[in-house]
Amino acid sequence: MTTMSMSRLGPDRLKELTLAATIFLSLVVFGLLIEGYFSGRFFNRVTLGVAIVAVVAAGQSLVILTRNIDLSVGSIVGVSAYVTGQQLGNHPEANVVVAIALAIAIGAILGLINGLLVAVARIPSIIVTLGTLAIYRTVLIAYGDAKTITADTLPSWLVNLPKSTLFSIGDYDLRFMFALAIGVVIALQIAFGRLRVGRRLYALGSNPDAAHQAGLSINRLTVLAFVGCGALAGLGGFLFLARFGTITVTAGQGLELQAIAAAVVGGVSTLGGAGTLVGSLFGALLIEVLNQSLVRLPALSEFWRDAVLGLLILIAVILDAVLARRFNPGRPRILAGTSAPGREPGSAQAITETGGTATGGAATGGAP
């Protein structure tokens, strides 16, 4: 990724390093606190657990990069897992490629609906996806008719997928699902670094006006980000199906908050234009390590887990903010009082406002 010459990736690289260091540090601390902490099983657990969230968080990051948000990913994961599971039950002869393609296609279609509503109908993404969060789930519950997809109806290759290992070093396995997840995330990251479309997404996120002035099709990019997010959530649905085997119509509920948490802990700015998919992968990894480690702290009662997790996320984002300010004081978003979410392309309000401001110079936001 050294070919990325955009200056903004400096701080992003720094963030990734900070996160990696934080993950390493937590591992050391927990290793001292918990007897027998490092084991092949713990490694497998974290890697398998992170696979689903990492994929969904990567999709979420795409959308957040463009100054949007997708609250509907949990419902997309549910629909994709349920429908794919049902189809595999009816057509057990289908192979892994067909299953994954189906799951991704379902997700992409739902993402396309979100994207069109945001970009073409010009509805703020939080409203669109707050709505589709409910609508997709409602449709799934009506469609599912309280039937549960059970493991014994699924082909055995799918049920055994979480166990399948590419290679092992001692007790430490590289599981197929984890490899698939990080493979997809890293491949997308590299692709975005090299392809024009990736740079355009960053450009759109960091300054939509400038991006428009530069002749980028903002609508197309926004739709693309949502389709990508939906497709990744669909893949997440496939992983969810493989991992849990038993899928009810409530599958994936609440995953949207985990995905957003992973993305923002991973340094993806909710103001758009900053952060990387690999960062969100690290964010997911950090949260998973904390989650898996906190359940094993004997001193910490069951009831303390959420409180500690919330606190740690808070510390992580504060550290990120403080570090970013220290290393890059020029970034406007760090200035006190400017933490409002970015305006987004296609907002209804924007249309009426465009009248007086359609000239280019305003893009820098200068004071009068």
């Binding site: 084991s39 519950i141 549960t148 059970t150 493991a151 849990f244 409530t250």
Partner: protein, 388 residues
């Protein structure tokens, strides 16, 4: 308001009249069916007697006494508008309960109950809302699988004030305030014993240690069952079964799965995970299977045969228990119909005949400080021989 009530009463009276005129046929055929199935049910409960504990001996005596006077069953075809309220909608067990209720409504020749439930993520507030709306609608009865603990009480009190009957099933109102009675799927104390016995049968005669993976820390039925289990374990007979830990998976697959694996790490000598919730047991079994742990750590608890079949076959969950939710819905509908139409009273010792399921007696609930219950029981314990 009184205007509407009068109108409703008038409509109800007319409907009753119409129903009474047209119901002769169905009543006769129902009687025949009842007589037939009552016998076969007695045979069933004999077969399962091993699972049923002392509690059952009492109720069986009572049943024999009542057999003579309760042959007729309820007068069918009376007007009866009710709501069947599950903890939330979208999962199989509650849908099965509704199937049972529909079957009973068909037999009784009356209206099908509205099957209305909240969404899973809004269960408590949603249940309260539905109960409150039921009071406004002026329904005859609401059958609740209570997920709101004592928090449902005020809404239920308002509903009862309108003259409606409230019956709980699956999960009661802990204080019993407001409910006429609780249709208990199994004896809540017995649940502890059944879980301990399954643990014994899986762990072997020399005992061993195990952990509990429950639903949410707020679920009143699960909490009661775990308390009962702890009580049983405290007796000498079960002294060699050691309960290491109780953790919560909040009835979410993912969390239950992770909690099960964390238990394995935390307690190297653990040989069994006991999960008294259908979501937890399936997730735990999948987790053990995925990690090739089934040799060392078995899974048991309360599970749906459909969801557990694969794991029983693979030996990960050799034995688990459950009751029939279809029967639970069926029995609940029968007793609620009887109460709401004034054919029986919610009083200790009152008995009734519930169609194909035979005769039941209302009794004081020994597992709560107050309240009445109808005990359905017994458990069916599933293993590779009977899971099919």
């Amino acid at each position: 308001m009184t205007h509407y009530k009068k109108l409703l009463a008038l409509i109800a009276a007319l409907a009753m009249l119409a129903a009474a005129c047209g119901s002769d046929d169905t009543e006769a055929s129902n009687d025949e069916e009842t007589a037939e199935t009552a016998d076969s049910d007695a045979a069933d409960s004999d077969g399962a007697e091993e699972e049923a504990m002392e509690e059952d001996a009492d109720s069986e005596e009572a049943m024999e006494e009542e057999d003579a006077m309760a042959d007729g069953g309820f007068e069918a075809g009376l007007d009866f508008n009710a709501i069947l309220l599950p903890k939330f909608t979208g999962i199989a067990v509650f849908d099965q309960a509704n199937e049972g209720a529909l079957e009973a409504a068909g037999e009784l020749g009356t209206n099908e109950a509205e099957f209305l439930g909240p969404t899973a993520d809004n269960s408590v507030a949603g249940q309260i809302e539905i109960v409150t709306n039921a009071a406004t609608q002026g329904v005859d009865a609401v059958m609740i699988s209570n997920n709101a603990g004592d928090q449902i009480e005020p809404a239920v009190a308002d509903l009862v004030d309108t003259g409606a009957v409230v019956v709980t099933w699956d999960s009661p109102i802990p204080s019993s305030n407001g409910e006429s009675l609780f249709v208990a799927q199994v004896d809540f104390d017995e649940t502890g014993k059944v879980m301990a016995d399954m643990a014994r049968s899986i762990l072997g005669d020399d005992g061993g240690s195990f952990a509990v993976l429950s639903a949410s820390p707020d679920a009143s039925n699960q909490n009661a069952w775990i308390a009962a289990l702890e009580e049983v374990l405290a007796t000498d007979e079960y002294a060699d079964l050691i309960l290491l830990d109780t953790v919560y998976g909040n009835d979410e697959s993912e969390e239950s799965y992770n909690q099960a694996l964390a238990l394995v790490d935390q307690h190297p000598d653990m040989e069994l995970i006991m999960s008294p919730t259908t979501v937890g047991i399936a997730a735990a079994a999948k987790a053990m299977q995925d990690e090739d742990l089934c040799e060392d750590v078995k899974v048991s608890g309360l599970g749906l045969p459909d969801e557990m079949r694969a794991y029983t076959a693979s030996g990960c969950a050799p034995e688990f228990a459950l009751w029939s939710f279809v029967d639970l819905g069926y029995l609940t509908y029968y007793v609620t119909y009887g109460l709401a139409t004034g054919q029986i009273e919610a009083a200790d010792g009152a008995s009734f005949s519930a169609g194909r399921m035979g005769d039941y007696t209302i009794e004081t609930d020994p597992t709560r400080d107050a309240g009445l219950r109808v005990l359905m029981g017994p458990f069916t314990v599933y293993n590779e021989d009977n899971i099919g």
